[in-house]
């Protein structure tokens, strides 16, 4: 049964009415001319008349046919792969997340999927979608060929991505709606893991008449040990210096596991350690690497463990050289500059420049203290409007009061000389988080000899308070940035904090918070996530040393390190699998996916266009265009000055 991909174009067939109308409207010429005698015409026309009349009808038919054929060609007629209206149409969704590759049931699930796919036939057209992330990779069209479906499945699995059924389910529903089948079925082949169903909106039902079937392993669940996260602790500023990396390893299985973890820097193994992890336990370990050159490098951690999923046993990090950011800082009003010492000690985390107009405009962070003049205040206001952050170290000067007033903060003169300590600290805040479990030199023992009384605007956040209840450290949002106000001069006349061990980590955490990047990725991406490639032309996958050109959106399909190159610039990016997939985390027994099925009775089957593939219609298209061409040429030959 021929179907049309774009049936609306058949309206073009109405164009056939044009020659017919012309035939009736213009059948008779209107021009009348005298002629001396019909002596020669009469004998000619007697012969010609019948032939001419016949020719006119042929021309009319040719013209009409040409319109109809063109309309039919543009409507893309095709024969679906099934000869008659199918009894049932099936969409098979294969959960292509990496948890499906778990050893206990991967082969079982594949066999079950293949069994369903091989049931496809002319009366049971089937389409297959491999679900990874929010998207599904689809076979182009419904087909009755089981082999084609099986080959598509074999080519796509196992995937390294994560699973989410919401988008795939809706797309499957839409595809089924286009099929003129009596029964419509969605079959999901999944490992009964909870994760893919988290995104599904159960309030949105499938189309009426669509049934849902879930194929799961006979024994769901798996034993897995995985590296769930890793973080570079030290910036890569100098070659041959140790860079600390923290790694989180979790044993998701129900029994204790012993294994080794290897640290690799590019293609060299740096370290190997034995690890023992109790059931459901997590270990946080710190490893060190020392790159020999200040060049992009890949650090990977590999677990030598016998578990059910292999892909999450390796975790890769991108190590790209960085320069200490510019920090514009006003000079210390006192004799000992603890702040500068804290920022520049050891591994230098900031390049300090003067807090003048140029310095502030170039820097990523501004630290104001002492008596900031009008130019510095103006530049600081510009910096805030550009999204930069400012740290203000309070000082009892009129310039400082002016600055704070411009931020909506009123500050008094020094309060009474009664000593104060921290009494209330928000340890959930990023720059106090590291102190939460620290035993040494508690923050509450720091003494503040004198401090101002600050009156903060309502939108300010107080992170720490003095023992008398006055704000000690506060954050005031302003324009696109934040102003972090410390209500102390931080010199030896005001506090003993500078000589306490907590001062250096606090200042560093404070600077790290104020310098934090808005780029949520950094150089780390999940499988399937788009990687920005602006400025890069080629890429090398370090896993197999393969090169490919970059163009458009780059979505890595497999975890590992990728070296992007372009215009003499190199950048390493690391791709990891989604950590959410590693835990077995199976669905509860009472989980009912049929809640998605609509209870409204199905509508009567109406013949709609099946999912169309241009390849199907190509033969017909050419034939119709050829026939239309023949009609037009014949018309041009025959219609040479007829009275039509």
């Amino acid at each position: 049964m021929i179907q049309f991909a774009f049936a609306a174009f058949m309206l073009g067939g109405l164009g056939a009415a044009i020659p017919i109308a012309l035939h009736f409207l213009k059948g008779k010429p209107t021009v009348v001319s005298p002629f001396p005698d019909f002596m020669f015409l009469r004998q000619t026309l007697i012969e010609k008349h019948t032939r001419n009349k016949l020719r006119k009808w042929i021309i009319l038919i040719l013209r009409s046919l040409a319109f109809i054929l063109l309309a039919a060609a543009f409507s893309w007629p095709y024969l679906p792969n099934f000869a008659k209206t199918p009894n049932s149409a099936t969409v098979v969704l294969w959960d292509n997340s990496f948890s499906m590759a778990a050893k206990p049931y991967f082969n079982e699930m594949k066999a079950k999927a293949l069994a369903i796919l091989r049931q496809a036939g002319p009366k049971r057209p089937t389409i297959l979608g491999l679900v990874a992330g929010g998207n599904a990779l689809w076979l182009p069209r419904f087909t009755g060929k089981g082999d084609e479906l099986a080959a598509f499945l074999e080519s796509g699995v196992p995937g390294d991505g994560s699973g989410s059924f919401e988008t795939a389910l809706r797309e499957a529903d839409a595809r089924l709606e286009e099929m003129p089948a009596a029964t419509k079925k969605i079959v999901i082949v999944t490992d009964w893991q909870k994760l893919p169903w988290n995104s599904v909106d159960f309030s949105k039902k499938l189309s009426p008449g669509t049934t849902l079937k879930i194929i799961t392993p006979d024994k769901p669940g798996f034993a897995n040990v995985a590296i769930t996260s890793a973080k570079i602790l030290t910036p890569f500023l100098v070659a041959k210096r140790k860079i600390a990396i923290s790694v989180n390893i979790t044993n998701f299985s129900d029994s204790e596991r012993q294994f080794s973890i290897e640290t690799w820097l590019n293609s060299s193994r740096v370290n190997s350690e034995k690890v023992r992890l109790d059931a459901k336990a997590t270990a946080k370990m710190t490893f060190f690497v020392s790159p020999r050159a200040l060049e992009p490098a890949a650090v990977s951690f590999r677990l030598n463990v016998k578990d059910d999923i292999a892909v999450d046993n390796t975790y890769t990090l991108a190590l790209n050289p960085s320069k200490p950011p510019l920090v514009a800082m006003a000079p210390s009003p006192g004799d000992c500059d603890f702040l500068r010492l804290a920022l520049e000690a050891g591994a230098k985390i900031a390049n300090i420049v003067p807090a003048n107009h140029t310095g502030i405009s170039k820097s990523k962070l501004v630290i104001l203290r002492g008596a900031p003049n009008a130019k510095a205040r103006s530049a600081a206001a510009d910096a805030l409007s550009n999204g930069k952050n400012i740290i203000v170290i309070w000082n009892p000067t009129s310039e400082m009061r002016t600055l704070l007033l411009s931020l909506g903060v009123a500050s008094s003169t020094l309060t009474a000389t009664d000593e104060a300590t921290f009494s209330d600290i928000d340890f959930t805040h990023p720059f106090f988080k590291v102190f939460k479990n620290m035993k040494i030199s508690p923050l509450f023992q720091i003494r503040f000899y004198a401090h101002p009384k600050l009156e903060l605007p309502p939108d300010a956040t107080v992170v720490a308070k003095f023992s008398d209840g006055d704000p000690a450290i506060a954050i005031v949002p302003k324009d696109k940035g934040e102003v972090i106000i410390i209500a102390s001069k931080l010199d030896r006349d005001s506090t003993d904090w500078g000589i306490r061990p907590s001062f250096l980590p606090f200042i560093r955490e404070l600077a790290a918070y104020a310098l934090r990047s808005t780029n949520k990725h950094g150089n780390q991406y999940l499988v399937g996530e788009p990687v920005p490639t602006k400025g890069f032309s080629s890429c090398e996958a370090l896993a197999d040393n393969s090169f490919f050109k970059l163009g458009g959106i780059f979505r890595p399909k497999h975890p590992g390190a990728y070296l992007l190159t372009g215009n003499g610039v190199k950048k390493m990016i690391a791709v990891t699998v989604a950590p959410d997939e590693s835990p077995s985390n199976t669905l509860p027994d009472d989980f009912n996916p049929n809640a998605l099925v609509s209870k409204i009775p199905p509508p009567k089957t109406t013949a709609k266009a099946a999912a169309f593939s241009p390849e199907q219609g190509r033969t017909f298209w050419w034939i119709l265009m050829l026939l239309a061409g023949i009609m037009i040429v014949s018309e041009m030959i025959l219609s040479n000055r007829t009275t039509l």
């Binding site: 008779k28 010429p29 021009v31 009348v32 001319s33 005298p34 002629f35 001396p36 005698d37 019909f38 002596m39 020669f40 015409l41 009469r42 004998q43 000619t44 026309l45 012969e47 010609k48 001419n52 040479n640 000055r641 007829t642 009275t643």
Partner: protein, 302 residues
């Protein structure tokens, strides 16, 4: 370029159609024709000596009187008296079809035929030949008596001032009715579009030839009749009947031209077989060679 050539070149039907009055047209035609005769081989058909004149450059050497040259040592040319013993009958077809004028012609077949007839009459009058003018069409409309005097000439010119209004055409019948009036050894000139099967003319022409008449058929046709160059499909309306015919010109042009050619060929063959002259005149062309034809006939008759 001589005056004669210039004259004949510019004496086309367009110029002729713009001349006011039939007489002026006739005069213009004849003057042009006579100028063209300067090089004509037909000059000097009379025998009677008239007078001498001085030799002029361009005169034929055979006309020089060498005896006079011997006597006077000057070159003289003998001029001869024109003959006046020819009787010429002009029969002009005045059927309605002669009024046809196509878009490419400057004058209708009727105007062309009348101009030609007037020119012939003027020419004959100047040569002192006896001429007669008659009209044919749906029937024979009669002909004037042969005469060379000026009053008859003027009468004939006046008779030419009429329309071609015969509703039908019967050339063969008209010519048959003319036969009793035909003079032996006369020249009969028929100007018509000859929409008649040639076989219908055969008998009449044979009888005329039996009377030793010289017969000239001036076949006047419009370019559109010859080429059938209609562009778009149209309805043709007969000029002598009320019949209409819807045609697609491109479809029948070839067949029409073939039918016309057959007709012309048959008419020409008939004329050749009877030693008559058949001259096809396209109204786009200057009518001078029609006069030349006539003169050729006259010389033969003399």
């Amino acid at each position: 370029m001589s005056d004669a050539l210039l004259h004949s070149e510019y004496l086309d039907t367009e110029l002729l159609s713009h001349l006011p009055g039939l007489e002026i047209r006739a005069r213009f035609l004849v003057e042009g024709f006579l100028a063209g005769l300067h090089k004509s081989p037909h000059k000097g058909s009379s025998v009677e000596f008239k007078e001498y004149r001085d030799y002029q450059q361009g005169d034929e050497l055979k006309l020089i009187d060498w005896k006079a040259y011997a006597r006077t040592d000057r070159l003289h040319v003998k001029l001869r008296e024109e003959e006046t013993n020819m009787r010429v009958t002009l029969l002009v077809d005045k059927s309605a079809s002669m009024e046809f004028k196509g878009p490419n012609a400057h004058m209708s077949k009727w105007d062309y035929s009348r101009a030609l007839a007037a020119a012939l009459l003027l020419f004959l009058h100047r040569q002192k030949d006896a001429a007669s003018l008659g009209f044919i069409g749906s029937h024979f409309h009669g002909a004037s008596k042969h005469s060379a005097n000026t009053a008859t000439f003027h009468n004939m010119m006046v008779r030419l001032h009429q329309n071609a209004d015969d509703p039908s055409s019967d050339i063969a019948g008209s010519l048959e009715h003319f036969l009793p009036l035909a003079k032996r050894r006369s020249v009969v000139v028929v100007l018509s579009d000859f929409y008649v099967p040639p076989r219908d003319l055969k008998k009449t022409l044979e009888l005329l030839r039996c009377m030793k008449c010289e017969v000239l058929l001036f076949h006047v046709l419009d370019p559109l009749e010859l080429d059938f160059d209609f562009d778009e499909p149209l309805i043709l309306e007969g000029m002598e009947t009320d019949a209409q015919m819807m045609i697609s010109p491109d479809l029948i042009r070839k067949e029409y031209r073939e039918a016309l050619k057959v007709h012309l060929d048959e008419l020409s063959k008939l004329c050749v077989s009877l030693d008559c002259e058949h001259l096809l005149l396209d109204t786009r062309e200057p009518p001078l060679h029609a006069l030349g034809k006539y003169l050729s006939k006259r010389r033969r008759a003399s």
